[in-house]
């Protein structure tokens, strides 16, 4: 009896608890979970685990974002995307444009108290270029004398590479040929000074928080792999101390999930998924601006019918680029020229315009009957945006030319392998600026570029691009780039530039001093939270 009654009470209590639990869950679902955000801490989404924080080996955007906070180079990109003095307080170049001398600041120490010396640059650059390191971005220093030969294993002596420490605080760099934008190159992470003593002592673990020493505005406090990375303000930083005490970067791989966390007040800055942008338009959290990032379709010019330049030009004329921003909704800028708006020497007049009549005439001229042609294959990497673009192109070519188009998507790594081993007839790719100089874009389609998957090579184009990289006079440089762009985008058309991607961010109102820029570099040392 008693047992039964007690059981009944317990059941009633459980029922009540259940009701409360349901109410609590409902309340939790309706109210932001975050509560008060931690003072002095900025929370961002990194998207993925950085493959490596070793700046000689890193190649991806996540590593770059973090290393920009943790480290400094000889120069640093300013908000206007021009190189500013950083570890080098000033520099000069010899009259023949071949020898650059960088004078280092004397007050810089690493987070373990070791002072900065010119020799650390020399060792770091030799490590980057050494064939044993096998760094993908070693080519960044190819303009340096003998760097390419040393990297290719043709020279064994590292001291032959044109970088020397003239004294503790003077670094001398000798180039193969004059290069006007060299101080832009030295903003990039792979050119940062190296601490080879740490690399030798700890091996691959030297980038773990307990061993990692850096000299930027922040240091690495915590790295919970596949979950989050925490940066802490560096008390030994030579510049003005950052206002933020901490930066936490979460690794949420889906933008839509990250957005939910943003709306719950758990993350301060997120990238907006394409289809959510419309909802944020007009809200104070919304920030947008065009990036130095081009989106294009490339042809495999070795495969018929795309070995015929008239067919390539016809397909370019049959694209109405104004469709893309309507479909993607992300503030994309249609652009028929390869150099994106915002890049020096951009010329909006270049590019093949939408002209379906001309397109049909060109096809007829080439003797191609679109209705009997086997379906044209477009290959793209799996992604919502790329799929929408491909479906739009498929519909446009069908409508304007009567062309049958088949689409195929691939996982990113598989896609990259295929681009190298057997490039598809038509593929999509994008290119984001590593440094804001036209050479970074134009160089992509030279004969020797590893990123040129079109099979197209043109000696005139190669010559123009090489000449422009040495040209100091902006007016003459413009002429050279215009000529090269006309070959690329109007005459030979191994690629069809589509549009320039825009950055679409949601930034919480508590974040101040965050200014997005066209290269998507985060200057977190000037950000504060309130």
């Amino acid at each position: 009896m008693t047992r039964g009654r007690r059981g009944g009470l317990a059941r009633a209590r459980i029922r009540r608890i259940r009701v409360w639990a349901a109410v609590a869950l409902l309340a939790a679902a309706c109210r932001p979970l975050g509560g008060e955000p931690p003072p002095g801490e900025l929370r961002i989404n990194l998207g993925t685990e950085p493959p490596s924080l070793d700046w000689a080996l890193a190649t991806d955007g996540t590593s770059f974002l973090l290393l920009e906070q943790l480290m400094r180079g000889l120069t640093r990109m300013g908000p206007d995307l021009r190189p500013q003095p950083a570890l080098a307080e000033r520099w000069e170049v010899s009259d023949d444009g071949l020898v650059w001398t960088f004078h280092l600041r004397r007050d810089v120490v690493w987070s373990d108290g070791v002072p900065l010396e010119a020799e650390q640059f020399v060792r770091g650059w030799r490590r980057l270029l050494s064939p044993q390191t096998a760094a993908e971005y070693a080519y960044f220093l190819y303009p340096v004398k003998n760097a390419r030969a040393f990297n290719a294993g043709e020279i064994d002596d590292p001291s032959a590479v044109g970088v020397r420490a003239r004294d503790r605080h003077t670094l001398e760099v000798e180039l193969e040929a004059p290069l006007v934008y060299f101080p832009s190159l030295t903003t990039f992470m792979v050119t940062f000074p190296g601490r080879l003593d740490l690399v030798e002592r700890y091996g691959v673990d030297w980038t773990e928080p307990e061993h990692f020493e850096t000299l930027g505005a922040f240091v690495l406090e915590e790295w919970r792999h596949e979950y989050k990375i925490v940066l802490r303000a560096n008390p030994k930083y030579y510049g003005p101390p950052p206002s933020l005490e901490r930066v936490t970067g979460y690794m949420v791989d889906m933008d839509s999930t990250a957005l939910v966390l943003f709306e719950q007040g758990l993350i301060d800055i997120v990238r907006l998924p394409a289809l959510e942008i419309r909802r944020f338009r007009g809200r104070p959290e919304y920030r947008t601006l065009p990036l130095l990032r081009g989106y294009y379709y490339g042809f495999n010019t070795k495969l018929p019918p795309f070995d015929d330049v008239r067919v390539r030009r016809a397909l370019a004329h049959a694209i109405d680029r104004r469709e893309f921003p309507k479909v993607l909704q992300g503030g994309e800028l249609p652009s028929g020229s390869w150099l994106p708006p915002g890049m020096p020497h951009h010329n909006a007049a270049i590019g093949l315009p939408f002209d379906p009549e001309r397109a049909r005439a060109l096809l007829a001229e080439a003797g191609v009957d679109a209705s009997t042609l086997p379906p044209v294959r477009i290959v793209y990497n799996t992604d919502q945006t790329h799929k929408l673009v491909a479906e739009s192109v498929q519909a446009q070519w069908r409508e304007n030319l009567g062309l049958a188009v088949e689409l195929e998507n691939r996982e990113w790594k598989v896609f990259l392998k295929e681009l190298v081993s057997r490039p598809p007839p038509i593929y999509r790719l994008g290119w984001g600026a590593d440094f804001p100089d036209p050479d970074n874009f134009m160089n992509l389609f030279t004969s020797s570029s590893a990123n040129n998957h079109t099979g197209w090579s043109d000696a005139r184009y190669d010559r123009l691009v090489a000449e422009a990289s040495r040209e100091l006079d902006p007016a003459r440089r413009q002429v050279l780039y215009d000529r090269a762009q006309r070959i690329l985008c109007e005459e030979e058309v191994p690629i069809i530039p589509f549009f320039v991607t825009s950055l679409n961010l949601a930034v919480a109102p508590r974040v101040h001093g965050f200014e997005p820029n066209a290269m998507d570099i985060y200057f977190l040392d000037s950000v504060s939270v309130r």
Partner: protein, 277 residues
């Protein structure tokens, strides 16, 4: 048939009709783009709204239904056919053959599904090279999903038959001279058809989902063709801004699952000899 069974049959018939006649009813081609009306919600012009390329979602759900139902029902049929024959032989013959056949099933079972589906789809793409793209992709999906699905069916059927073999009515049939295939086909299989049918109806929704996974990695149906699973996973990315993009494909999957369940349940009752009066 019970009222639920009729309701299920009607719903399935309705879905099939929608899949077959969707474009004609809505007046839009499933791949006709009109970016002026992109992402619009449901209206008199677009009953289920429009997607990011301004395509009519109703026409796309109908077209997606063609792919999803074809792949799901086709691959289930393949899986059931192989599974029932294999399981029945294994369970009925028994003994050492049963042991070997079941070890083979264990071996196949231990392979990860997605990996095998990917491999098989690639193989069928190669084998079916002469078939036009869309049909080749459909056929490859049907075969690959079917060839992965038969294992659990075989196990189930074998278990059911082992159990049935020992029952009194089988003894009785044997006593009047029924033997071999006739015993299996006329007496045992009809008696165990209930659970088999239920499994079949359960396989259909999981085949719809498996199809969307395969399509996501680029081996399934390619745009502009679509399927319910692909439409739903596309819509999921924009769930908060444009709920109609996931609502209608999701409803289509839900309704088909529900209808097949009702139908399966009712068929089970009808086919089970023990429940015949």
């Amino acid at each position: 048939m019970s009222a639920g069974g009729w309701a299920g049959a009607l719903l399935v018939a309705g879905l099939v009709a929608l899949a077959l006649a969707g474009d004609d009813v809505s007046g839009y081609r499933f791949d006709a783009q009109d970016t002026e009306h992109a992402l619009e919600g449901p209206s008199a012009a677009h009953w289920m709204g429009a997607d990011a390329l301004g395509r009519d979602l109703f026409a796309r759900v109908a077209e997606g239904g063609r792919v999803s139902l074809l792949v799901a029902i086709g691959s289930t049929a393949v899986a059931m056919l192989i599974g029932i024959v294999y399981g029945a032989v294994s369970g009925y013959v028994g003994g050492r053959l049963d042991g070997w056949m079941m070890r083979a099933v264990d071996a196949v079972y231990s392979l990860p599904d997605v990996l095998v589906i990917v491999l098989l789809t690639e193989v069928f793409h190669g084998v079916l090279d002469a078939v036009p793209d869309l049909y080749r992709r459909l056929l490859a999906l049907v075969l690959a999903l079917g060839l992965v699905g038969w294992v659990s069916v075989a196990r189930l059927v074998r278990g059911l038959i082992l159990q049935a073999r020992e029952e009194a009515w089988v003894e009785a049939a044997r006593a009047v001279g029924v033997r071999g295939p006739r015993m299996l086909l006329r007496h045992i299989l009809p008696n165990v058809s209930g659970p088999i049918l239920v499994t079949a109806t359960l396989r259909v929704p999981s085949a719809i989902l498996a199809e969307s996974i395969v399509s996501f990695i680029g081996l399934g149906i390619q745009p502009p063709f679509s399927s319910w699973g692909v439409l739903a996973s596309d819509g999921f990315a924009a769930m908060r801004s444009y709920p109609h993009l996931i609502l209608f494909p999701g409803l289509a999957i839900l309704v088909s699952l529900f209808a097949l369940h009702l139908l399966g349940e009712s068929l089970r009752e009808r086919l089970d000899p023990r429940q015949r009066s």
